[in-house]
C-alpha cells in the first residue's frame, strides 16, 4: 500500500472520502492521464459536432417569424410587378412591405475580382424590415436627398479603397436608357450587418433610381419583404399573398424567414444524420475504452477495497467510492474537451458555417460524460460490492 493510501484511510471511517478517491484515481498516473486525454479528445469532437447541429438550429430559431419573403415560385421566371406592393399592403395583418431588386456589376478590371452587388430598395422601409442591417446615422436622410446615392458596408469600402463622399462607377449587364452600361453612384453613407460583417461587401441603392434608368425589367421586383403584425398568422398571410399571384405569369412562393432558414439547412444535405452517426461512433468507442480502464483499475484494487470493507465500509460506500472516482475522471476531462471545442468553433466558420458551442451543448456533453462514467463504473463496482471480504482478500 502506498503512502497516500495510508494517509487517506488513517483519518477514520468516512472522514477522508475525497482524498481516498483521489488516491485511487492517481494510482497509475500514466493510465489516468491517457484515459483523461481520450475523454478530452472525444468531447472536443462531440462538442464541435453537436455545435454544428446547434448552429443550424440557432439559425432557424433566430430567423424572424414575423418577416415574410415573397419570391417567384419558379426561379428565373417572370418577375413580380411592383404594383403588387400596394395590393400586399391591403392584406389584413400586413404592416410593412419593401421591394428588392438586384443590381450587379464590376468596379474595375479584372471584373471577377471587383464585383459590386447592391440591393435596390426603398432604404427607409428596408432597414425597418431587416433588423440585421443597421444604417449609420444620417445615411437614410442622405439617400432620400441623393437619388443616385449608395450606402456601403465598411468592408466594401475597405476592399475597394473608397470612403464616404467618393463616387463609384459600376459597369453592369443592366443597360441604361442612355445606351450605356456604366452606372455612377455617390457613396453617401455606410451600414453595418450583424452577420459576418467582415465578409459582407455590398451596397444598398435607391430602387426608384435604378428603375427609372434601366431598360429591361422596369417596374418589377425579385423579392418583397413583408412584416406582419402577428407571427402566428404567418402561414395564412403567406397563402393570401400567394393567392394574389396565382395563375399569373409570376406565381409566388411566400415563406417566413424561419421557414427559409430551415429550408437552407436542409439543402446542405442531411447534416444532422451525418453528425449524429459520427457522434454515435465516438461515444461507443469512448464508452468501450473508458469502461475497460475503469474495470481494470477497480479490479486491481479488489484487495484494497476488501480492506476497507473489513474496516467497516458498507457496500454502498464502496460503490460510491468507485462512482465518485469515475466521475472525477470524466467530468473535468469532458469539461476541458468542451472548452477546447468552444475555442475551436470559430475555425470552421468559413467552410462549415456557424458552430455554436452553447451552454445547452455543454450541458448535454457533461450529462453524457456523467452517464458514461456511471455506466463504465457500474459493472466492476457492483461486482466489487457483492464480493465477500474473504474472497477479495485472498486475491492479494
Amino acid at each position: 500500500m502506498d503512502r497516500r493510501w495510508e494517509e487517506a484511510t488513517s483519518g477514520g471511517m468516512g472522514m477522508r472520502f475525497i482524498p481516498l478517491v483521489w488516491a485511487g484515481l492517481w494510482r497509475r498516473p500514466a493510465r489516468t492521464i491517457l484515459t483523461g486525454l481520450c475523454i478530452v479528445i472525444a468531447f472536443l469532437l462531440l462538442g464541435l459536432l453537436d455545435g454544428v447541429n446547434a448552429g443550424f438550429a440557432k439559425a432557424i430559431a433566430d430567423a424572424h417569424r414575423d418577416l415574410l419573403m415573397t419570391n417567384t415560385r419558379v426561379r428565373g421566371g417572370g418577375l413580380m410587378p411592383i404594383s403588387a406592393m400596394a395590393t400586399i399592403q391591403t392584406i389584413p395583418g400586413v404592416k410593412l412591405v419593401a421591394q428588392r431588386a438586384y443590381f450587379m456589376g464590376s468596379y474595375r478590371e479584372p471584373a471577377a475580382q471587383n464585383m459590386v452587388a447592391a440591393i435596390a430598395t426603398q432604404p427607409e422601409l428596408f432597414f425597418r424590415l431587416r433588423p440585421q442591417f443597421m444604417a449609420a446615422k444620417g445615411g437614410l436622410d442622405a439617400m432620400r436627398e441623393n437619388r443616385a446615392g449608395m450606402l456601403a458596408t465598411p468592408a466594401m469600402l475597405e476592399y475597394f479603397g473608397l470612403k464616404v463622399g467618393d463616387t463609384i462607377t459600376v459597369r453592369s449587364q443592366t443597360l441604361k436608357t442612355d445606351g450605356s452600361r456604366d452606372w455612377t453612384f455617390s457613396i453617401v453613407g455606410t451600414f453595418d450587418t450583424i452577420k459576418e460583417p467582415t465578409r459582407a461587401t455590398f451596397g444598398i441603392i435607391n430602387y426608384a433610381y435604378l428603375d427609372e434608368y434601366r431598360v429591361e425589367n422596369r417596374g418589377t421586383a425579385e423579392i418583397f419583404y413583408v412584416r406582419i403584425a402577428d407571427p402566428t398568422k404567418a402561414v395564412a398571410t403567406a397563402a393570401a399573398i400567394d393567392r394574389i399571384f396565382a395563375n399569373s405569369s409570376h406565381e409566388t412562393r411566400t415563406q417566413s424567414d424561419q421557414d427559409r432558414a430551415e429550408f437552407l439547412a436542409k439543402q446542405m444535405g442531411d447534416v444532422e444524420f451525418f453528425t449524429d452517426a459520427i457522434m454515435g461512433a465516438v461515444l461507443f468507442t469512448l464508452a468501450f475504452l473508458t469502461g475497460n480502464t475503469l474495470r481494470q483499475s477497480l479490479h486491481e484494487r479488489i484487495p484494497e477495497f476488501a480492506v476497507l470493507k473489513t474496516l467497516g465500509y458498507s457496500d454502498a460506500r464502496v460503490l460510491s467510492l468507485a462512482y465518485t472516482e469515475a466521475l472525477l475522471l470524466f467530468i473535468p476531462a469532458a469539461a476541458l474537451g468542451l472548452a477546447l471545442a468552444y475555442l475551436a468553433a470559430p475555425l470552421g466558420k468559413e467552410d462549415i458555417g456557424a458552430i455554436v458551442v452553447s451552454p445547452a451543448v455543454a450541458a448535454t456533453g457533461l450529462l453524457c460524460a456523467g452517464f458514461l462514467a456511471l455506466l463504465g463504473a457500474s459493472l466492476p463496482a457492483l461486482r466489487l460490492a457483492r464480493m465477500s471480504i474473504v474472497a477479495s482478500l485472498s486475491k492479494r
Binding site: 464541435l48 419558379v74 471584373a111 468507442t285 475497460n292 462549415i352
Partner: protein, 396 residues
C-alpha cells in the same frame, strides 16, 4: 537464439496471452475501428462528390464562358455570342457538316427528396439538339427525346432515383405551366445524371430569358483547341474564356468540396489523436501487466531489442485488426448508398452521388492504423525494453 527467432518467440508468447487480457487488447481494436470507420466514410463521401464532378471531364470537350466568369452560372452569352462561337474555326463537325456544339442555360426546378421529403432544387439545364452527340457517354435509357417547342423534360437517372415525382409521364410545374417528363437518360460518372434537361430554346421562351450561360463544343482533332482559342480571341464581337472541360472543372470546385475535405480531415485527425491515446493506454497496460514475464525473458537472455520489437508487432497486429473491422463496418453501412447534397451546377442545386469504399480507401485506413499502432506501441515498447530485471522481480 538469433534476434529474429527471439522476436518471433516473444511475439508468439504475447499473442497467445491476448485471450487472458481480451478487454484491454480490444481497446486498440475498437478504438482504431471507430476512427477508420468514420474516416473512410467521410472520405468516401468526399471522393464520391469529387469523382462525380470530375469523372465526366473529357479533354475533347471545350467550354466557352463569358470573360471573367469562373462558373457557368456567372457567365452570360447572348444569341449573337453563341452564333459567333458556333461558327468559329476549330470545332468538330458531324457527318452533316454541322458543328458539334450545345448552347446551354442552367436554372433550377423545385423537387422533393424521397428520403426526407425536403424541398430541394435540381439543376434544370436547357441544352442544344446536339447534346447527346457532344456527350456520347450519356444514353437515353427509357422513353423518348423531348421535342423542341413542347414543354418536355428528360430526367437523369440519379436525379430520378433520389427525388420524387420524376417518373416518365409525370409533370412538374415550372415557368409557363406544367412540363411533362418524357424520358430518362444515364451514363458517365453522374454529375449530368443529377440534372433534368430540356430544349434550350423552349426553356428560353418559357422563362423569357434571352441569354445562354455557356457553350460546350467538341474540338476538332489536331490543334482544334488552339485554332478555336485564336479564332475567338480575334473576334472583336465576343469576350469569352475558352477552357477544356478538365480545366473548367478544376477551377469550378465549390464550397461543398472544401467543406467535405475540411470535415474529413479535421474529424479524422481529431479521432486519430483520441485513438492514439487509447492505443498508448492499452499497450502501456499490456506491458505493465507482463512486467514479470518480460523480466524473466530478459533474465534468460532475450535482448531488450527483441522484447521491444515484439511489443510493437503486437500493437501493429491489433491495429490492423481494428482497421479491418472499421473498413468492414463502413463498407456494410454505406458502400453503394446514394446521397444528395448541394453541389449541382447552380449554387443551390443538388448533386446526387454514391459512396464507394474503394480499395484505395482501405489502403489509407490500413496505413493510418499502422501509424497509430506503431506510435501507440512505441513508448510502451521502450519501457519494456528498459525495464530493470531486478526491480521487476522485486515488485512481485
Amino acid at each position: 537464439m538469433n534476434i529474429v527467432s527471439q522476436i518471433l518467440a516473444v511475439t508468439a508468447m504475447n499473442l497467445r496471452s491476448i485471450p487472458q487480457r481480451l478487454g484491454n487488447s480490444l481497446v486498440i481494436v475498437v478504438g482504431i475501428a471507430g476512427v477508420v470507420a468514420v474516416l473512410i466514410s467521410v472520405l468516401a463521401m468526399y471522393l464520391g462528390f469529387r469523382t462525380t464532378i470530375d469523372g465526366d471531364a473529357s479533354a475533347e470537350r471545350v467550354i466557352v464562358l463569358s470573360r471573367g466568369a469562373s462558373a457557368e452560372n456567372e457567365s452570360g452569352l447572348s444569341r449573337e455570342n453563341v452564333a459567333a462561337v458556333m461558327n468559329a474555326a476549330g470545332i468538330k463537325h458531324d457527318a452533316q457538316d454541322r458543328p458539334v456544339v450545345s448552347a446551354e442555360l442552367i436554372l433550377v426546378a423545385p423537387v422533393a427528396r424521397k428520403r426526407d421529403n425536403s424541398d430541394v432544387y435540381v439543376t434544370l439545364r436547357g441544352v442544344g439538339p446536339q447534346y447527346f452527340v457532344l456527350r456520347p457517354e450519356l444514353k437515353l435509357v427509357s422513353g423518348r427525346l423531348f421535342r423542341a417547342g413542347n414543354q418536355e423534360l428528360l430526367v437523369g437517372a440519379s436525379a430520378g432515383g433520389q427525388f420524387a415525382g420524376l417518373e416518365i409521364g409525370s409533370q412538374i410545374r415550372l415557368q409557363d405551366g406544367d412540363w411533362t417528363i418524357v424520358g430518362t437518360f444515364a451514363g458517365g460518372n453522374g454529375s449530368r445524371e443529377s440534372e433534368v434537361i430540356a430544349d434550350a430554346q423552349t426553356v428560353m421562351s418559357a422563362y423569357k430569358i434571352d441569354a445562354f450561360n455557356s457553350v460546350s463544343v467538341l474540338r476538332a482533332s489536331g490543334d482544334g483547341l488552339a485554332t478555336l482559342k485564336t479564332a475567338l480571341a480575334e473576334d472583336s464581337t465576343v469576350a469569352v474564356d475558352v477552357r477544356t472541360e478538365p480545366e473548367y472543372l478544376a477551377t469550378a470546385s465549390g464550397s461543398v468540396n472544401r467543406m467535405l475535405q475540411l470535415v474529413a480531415y479535421s474529424i479524422g485527425s481529431i479521432m486519430a489523436l483520441g485513438a492514439l491515446f487509447g492505443a498508448l493506454n492499452s499497450m502501456h497496460s499490456a506491458v505493465a501487466a507482463r512486467t514479470v514475464e518480460i523480466a524473466t525473458l530478459r533474465a534468460i537472455g532475450f535482448t531488450s531489442l527483441s522484447v521491444a520489437i515484439a511489443v510493437l508487432i503486437e500493437a501493429l497486429l491489433l491495429a490492423l485488426a481494428g482497421a479491418m473491422a472499421g473498413a468492414a463496418i463502413a463498407y456494410g453501412a454505406f458502400n453503394g448508398s446514394t446521397i444528395s447534397t448541394l453541389g449541382g451546377a447552380v449554387w443551390d442545386s443538388q448533386l446526387v452521388y454514391s459512396l464507394n469504399i474503394t480499395p484505395s480507401l482501405v489502403v489509407i485506413a490500413i496505413v493510418l492504423a499502422c501509424v497509430l499502432g506503431l506510435l501507440g506501441g512505441l513508448f510502451p515498447a521502450i519501457r519494456a525494453a528498459r525495464s530493470n530485471v531486478a526491480d521487476a522481480f522485486h515488485e512481485r
